[in-house]
């Protein structure tokens, strides 16, 4: 059995031991910059995300739409041939933006803070002289990078696969612009959904459960209820950011007449929708940072014990 304490070792020709070097007061790091701590938090979150099985599962799910245009091309007969533009737009809207964006936010952002609370590793971080905002924003940045990479790669591949159909080309500037537009909306969605998920993770014990209820339950319900309730969804603003042609084509199966009228009357324009998404992101992140300063995460109650 080895000894707990290392034997004193002397540096060649000097009476300075390794321990002396370790305990020298100047061994204490200098005041490092905010950016260094932010990047440390980001890099750590990336390394943790990269090791999770969750990453492979999320990527697998997100890449499923790539198969759809290929399957359509294989199975459909010429008289029912789909337009490539139509296929891509429907997949990008119905799956990438409305399903996968909130899903990736919950998968990754929802657990950014919640995992440290649940696993009680929070106390190590909270006892480090580190601005909480650098910690939260660093982690959020890691999530944005990973989730954007998955979602945009999937969208680009889906676009490429959709090109096997007519009316869509990789060489057309207009079609590439359409792709970029959708990618932009996806990233904006990731910001808003992600920030809200981080906020849920910092404030609730079950961010995934609350997130599923809000993103897939409430958001869908709100579009069916007449009135202004759909203003309290993220989906309204991501939808408003979509290209005009696509929004015109958007036609939910179940609609109430009044709800439809309300939506027509209270349609949100693209600049306002962009402002709303930025607002949701900023406020959610600020509330999360506030929570990390105010809440007592070290208690068993906070950790769910």
């Amino acid at each position: 059995m080895t000894s707990f304490i290392n034997d004193t070792q002397t540096a060649a020709g000097m009476n300075i031991t390794k321990e002396d070097l370790f305990f020298r007061p100047d061994n204490r790091p200098d005041h490092s910059s905010y950016f260094q701590r932010f990047s440390a938090s980001c890099a750590h979150a990336m390394s943790m995300i990269a090791r999770r099985k969750r990453l492979a599962v999320a990527a697998l799910i997100a890449f499923l739409p790539v198969l759809v245009p290929l399957a359509l091309a294989f199975f459909s007969t010429s008289q029912f041939a789909e337009s490539g533009n139509n296929v891509f737009v429907r997949l990008a809207e119905d799956l990438h933006i409305n399903v996968f964006t909130p899903l990736l936010a919950l998968f990754f952002a929802g657990m950014l803070i919640a995992e440290d609370i649940e696993m009680r590793t929070m106390i190590y971080i909270l006892t480090r002289p580190m601005p909480r905002s650098a910690w939260v924003l660093g982690r959020f940045c890691a999530y944005i990078f990973v989730a954007s990479l998955i979602l945009i790669s999937s969208a680009v591949l889906t676009f490429a696969a959709s090109c096997v159909h007519s009316n869509l080309s990789l060489m057309s500037a207009g079609d590439i612009k359409l792709l970029l537009h959708y990618c932009g909306v996806m990233v904006l969605g990731l910001f808003a959904y992600g920030a809200f998920s981080v906020f849920l993770g910092a404030f609730t014990r079950r961010p995934i459960v609350f997130g599923v209820i809000l993103f897939y339950g409430w958001q869908h319900l709100a579009t069916l209820i007449p009135g202004l309730v759909d203003f309290f969804t993220i989906k309204k603003y991501t939808t408003a950011m979509l290209p005009l042609l696509a929004t015109q084509r958007h036609n939910p199966v179940i609609e109430t007449v009044l709800g439809n009228i309300q939506r027509e009357v209270f349609l949100v324009g693209m600049p306002k929708a962009l402002a709303a998404l930025v607002f949701i992101t900023v406020v959610s992140l600020l509330l999360t940072i506030y929570a990390t300063y105010r809440r007592e995460y070290a208690s068993d109650r906070a950790a769910g014990g």
Binding site: M1, T2, S3, F4, I5, N6, K18, E19, L21, F22, F23, R24, P25, N27, R28, P29, D30, H31, S32, Q36, R37, A40, S41, A43, H44, S47, M48, R51, E115, M119, R120, T121, I123, Y124, I125, L126, T127, R128, P129, M130, P131, W135, Y293, E296, Y297, A298, S299, R301
Partner: protein
């Protein structure tokens, strides 16, 4: 000059549960033992001192400043928590490295410091292995190593002897004394008086969230010696081990259980020394030691009468 730790009327409650009640403490000695049975409020006191909790009433000052969200104080404190929580799927080295980065160290310094810390607790050989594969003693070493990086002036060790074998405990005693010798102020919490007695002469007794006594160990020990202390020893050879103890005068009773024996002794010091020598003779024989609170409880009962 104000004491390093100063609490005035310090109280903390969680809902209707009072964890600490009106505590007045001033700590200044190189090593202080924070003593009390499980649930006495030791960890709550430490977390208040670390700024993880804010006081419900009263105040606590570390180096003359309120510790909550105070980076100046955090930079001077190291903390080894009682619980075994680590970043998921990380190695011992990675765990310390990332905490160093959160401390504000740059990559190179974080690596050097993590290596030096592992070296100090003799974990160099295993530092690149997953923490999941570590024994309890190794995890304890890693937790202590992370607390030592950044060269803290004040070190909190929350139940550091938990789960350690006799040799590990002995090494821990030596390490704590060594750290105190390097000029560090060490606060060690434990629910076992004899552990504390090995490392310091100054103790703070907390019971039911209130300060019971503060002073020299000898005075408290005199009270304890009136009552036998129960020590549970885990072993696969219960009968062989029991034979060694049954003949000893200090042992007042002995129970053989499945994979353990329960020794009640009137001379715990002698019994611990005996355990040490047995462990040195045959490292396989003793798998673990757990001390019951009975004896300490008796003292608390005596003091609270």
């Amino acid at each position: 000059m104000s004491p390093i730790i100063e609490a005035c009327g310090l109280s903390k409650w969680f809902g209707e549960v009072v964890a600490l009640n009106n505590l007045d403490i001033a700590l200044d000695s190189p090593v202080t033992g924070l003593l009390g049975p499980n649930g006495a409020g030791k960890s709550t006191f430490i977390k208040l001192a670390l700024g993880l909790y804010s006081p419900s009433k009263g105040s606590i000052r570390i180096f003359g400043e309120a510790p909550r969200n105070n980076h100046r104080v955090m930079r001077r404190i190291g903390y080894c928590p009682e619980t075994d929580y680590f970043f998921e799927n990380s190695t011992g080295f990675e765990f310390i490295y990332w905490l160093n980065r959160y401390w504000g160290m740059q990559h190179r310094q974080a690596v050097t410091s993590a290596e030096a810390a592992c070296d100090l607790v003799n974990m160099t050989e295993r530092m690149h292995d997953a923490i999941d594969t570590y024994s309890k003693g190794m995890r304890q070493r890693i937790k202590i190593a992370q607390a030592l990086t950044g060269c803290p002036e004040l070190l909190f060790l929350d139940e550091p002897m938990n789960g350690l074998d006799p040799k590990g405990r002995e090494e821990m005693y030596l390490l704590i004394q060594k750290l105190a010798g390097k000029g560090m102020t060490v606060v060690v919490s434990s629910h076992i008086l004899y552990e504390i007695e090995r490392i310091t002469d100054t103790v703070v007794l907390i019971y039911g969230g209130t300060l019971l006594a503060q002073g020299r160990v000898r005075d408290i020990r005199d009270l304890i010696d009136k009552y036998p202390q129960a020590i549970r020893i885990r072993t696969t050879q219960a009968r062989t081990l029991a034979e060694r103890f049954i003949t000893q005068e200090a042992v007042s009773s002995l129970e053989i259980e499945e994979n353990s024996i329960l020794v009640r002794t009137r001379d715990p010091n002698f019994t611990y020394e005996m355990l040490n020598s047995i462990a040195l003779e045959d490292a396989e024989l003793i798998q673990g030691i757990a001390c019951s609170d009975d004896n300490l409880q008796s003292v608390f009962d005596y003091l609270t009468r």
